[in-house]
């Protein structure tokens, strides 16, 4: 079973990597996919925060923005290369998460949720008004493309949609790996314990505040990486990329996909970016239809779409087990009678 899962994962990765080769004359599709991946990376950070530690942040894009502006300033002003700028973006965004987390993580449930909304608003206000640093409402245009990468006699040019898509895919896989490793570590188990019952976790010796703070810092750093990638792809860092609408979109991507599942943010990202594109046939009604889709998901898939699929699968499995062992299920009792 596990090797089957591994094979499926490998096939999915290879399939995703082959998309630009299979569609050489469709730069629009490839660019849409790259944009989706740029959105998926901060969503992976939020998935770690909410799916693992149970902390819902409505201002997550603030940290994406901090990472994005850091990378834009370093690459544009100081001429840094993308890998170093991305690392710096992760560190600065993580440090911002540390500073924000210390006061905010002391608050409980709904208080924390609303305060993160406030953090998002405050950071956005700074992006929009500190004209000397962030360029104000106009933002920082002209972020340079990453330098071409040469392996042997094969050169990947990041100016092309294909090259940047591979870069985005690689970065996404890297953040997924981070989440996968955390979910399997003792640290991840402690976070799950906190999500399920904070008081119980504390009584078993888990330092709740330190664990929450660490999760918040890691999620912010991942968001920062996503921000660095976004600004190099779009070649601009602008305040509206990181406003409250963007933050709410990220939250919905995680919730709709399936919080806590590795593939959740990816599915959610595709639904949020690709589905509205697909609904263009319905022109002006597309956002209204999309609104109804969200309401239906809220009503019928309260653990997200992957959660829904998961519970359907395990229900099928239960039924099959019940059929194989007569007497253990109500159907069998009925047939005897």
């Amino acid at each position: 079973m596990t090797s089957l899962k591994g094979l499926a994962l490998l096939a999915a990765v290879i399939g995703a990597a082959c998309v630009p080769v299979l569609l050489p004359d469709q730069p629009y599709v490839v660019n849409t996919l790259t944009l989706t991946l740029c959105t998926v990376i901060p969503a992976i950070g939020l998935n770690l925060l909410y799916g693992q530690a149970g902390l819902l942040s409505l201002g997550h894009m603030a940290f994406t923005g901090i990472g994005g502006y850091t990378a834009a300033l370093l690459m544009k002003g100081a001429g840094w290369a993308l890998p170093e700028a991305m690392l710096a973006a992760a560190i600065v965004a993580g440090f911002a998460g540390f500073l924000v987390g210390i006061p905010c993580l002391r608050l409980r449930s709904h208080f924390f949720v609303i305060v993160t909304l406030g953090v998002g608003m405050i950071v956005y206000t700074f992006f929009n008004n500190l004209d000397g640093i962030t360029g104000g409402a106009q933002g920082l245009p002209g972020v340079p493309r990453p330098r071409p990468l040469t392996i042997g006699d094969f050169t990947i040019e990041f100016r092309t949609p294909r090259g940047f898509y591979w870069l985005a895919l690689l970065t996404t896989l890297g953040t997924l790996l981070v989440q996968w490793l955390i979910a399997r570590s003792p640290f991840g188990f402690s976070l799950s314990a906190i999500r399920q019952d904070e008081t119980m976790a504390a009584s078993r010796g888990v330092d709740v505040f330190a664990h929450k703070l660490a999760a918040f810092v890691i999620a912010s750093a991942i968001a920062g990486v996503g921000g660095a990638l976004s600004v190099t792809f779009l070649r601009v860092a602008a305040p509206t990329m990181f406003d409250l609408h963007a933050s709410m979109n990220i939250v919905a991507i995680v919730l709709v996909g399936g919080p806590g599942y590795l593939a959740g943010p990816i599915l959610g990202g595709f639904i949020f970016i690709a589905l509205p594109e697909f609904l263009r046939v319905a022109a002006e009604f597309r956002l209204i239809i999309f609104g109804f889709v969200l309401v239906f998901i809220a009503l019928f898939a309260n653990r997200g779409l992957i959660g829904l699929a998961d519970s359907l699968l395990s229900k099928m499995k239960r039924d099959r087990v019940a059929d194989e062992q007569p007497g253990a299920s109500p159907h069998a009792v009925k047939s005897e009678g």
Binding site: R106, G118, A298
Partner: protein, 290 residues
């Protein structure tokens, strides 16, 4: 000093709007434990309905306000029955459903009325009232007056009627309320209708003073959320005081800082206050919480 007094009055007026808005949200949260993030578009829809009744049907502002409250109360009943009743206890799905509703209502309004803002010319906006050297529109006083009447009426309703007592009982203990014969479903329905009617009232009051536009509910939603958190998440007097505090604070902040920082000041104040009072100004620690 004059600017201070002028901004005080403007702040009181916006505070009254935020208080009405927060009152609806806190009623829903207190009784049903639902955070309705779509309250902002209901507020906006209330202003649009009021505008339609005023400009195309009657021309009577008072009737238009009542009509808009009635229509939105019906909408509230539908939302409660169809959606939010089933989402009690799941904050994340309340957010997803609210986002869906925001998209439906906002784009529906754009489809019917276009993206441009509408005017609503009522007499109270045209006429000015002078207070010494300052002059305000009569609408300022209408807003503050109506809000005070609404708050007093709500207080009387909650404390001195059987229905209001049943509502408070449901919010305090659902099971115990059931035991004494209260039907929680009808209480939920009534709460939602009351809350959406209050949102429509706030929208209908503010609409004539500013412009009526599809995005007019976005900032009041943020301020309303801030107000109920400031008040302690579930405290009715807390939400009212929170609303007025925010209105006055943001109006005074514009005297010291550029207007762009107005919203940031409100949230910074919220975070600052929560550092010292983590359960809000009037909030109590709930049982089972450390």
């Amino acid at each position: 000093m004059l600017a201070f007094a002028e901004q005080g009055m403007n702040g009181l007026m916006m505070g009254a709007i935020y208080a009405l808005f927060a009152l609806g949200m806190v009623l829903i949260y207190g009784v049903m434990h639902v955070l309705n993030f779509s309250h902002g578009v209901l507020f906006m829809a209330g202003a649009y309905v009021c505008q339609v009744i005023f400009a195309q049907l009657t021309g009577n502002y008072f009737v238009a306000i009542l009509g808009s409250m009635l229509v939105l109360a019906l909408v509230g009943c539908l939302l409660e029955k169809g959606i939010f009743q089933h989402l009690r206890g799941s904050l994340s799905m309340q957010i997803v459903a609210s986002m869906g509703l925001i998209m439906i209502v906002q784009n529906g309004i754009i489809y019917f009325f276009g993206p441009l803002a509408l005017h609503m010319r009522v007499e109270t906006v045209e006429s000015k009232i002078r207070l010494g050297p300052l002059s305000f529109t009569a609408q300022h006083f209408v807003i503050i007056g109506v809000t005070l009447v609404a708050v007093v009426a709500l207080d009387l309703f909650l404390r001195h009627t059987r229905l209001g007592t049943a509502l408070r009982a449901t919010s305090q203990n659902l099971e115990a309320a059931r035991v004494v014969g209260i039907n929680p479903d009808s209480i939920f329905l009534m709460t939602f209708a009351l809350a959406t009617a209050l949102a429509a009232l706030a929208g209908a009051l503010l609409g004539p003073l500013f412009l009526i536009s599809p995005a007019m509910g976005d900032l009041p939603l943020l301020k309303g959320l801030t107000a109920i958190v400031l008040g302690g998440m579930g405290s009715v007097p807390g939400a009212i005081i929170g609303g007025f505090v925010i209105g006055i604070l943001e109006a005074q902040a514009t005297l010291v800082l550029p207007t762009d920082y107005r919203d940031a000041v409100v949230f910074a104040a919220l975070i600052g206050i929560l550092l010292f009072r983590p359960y809000g100004l009037f909030g109590k620690r709930e049982r089972g919480e450390p």
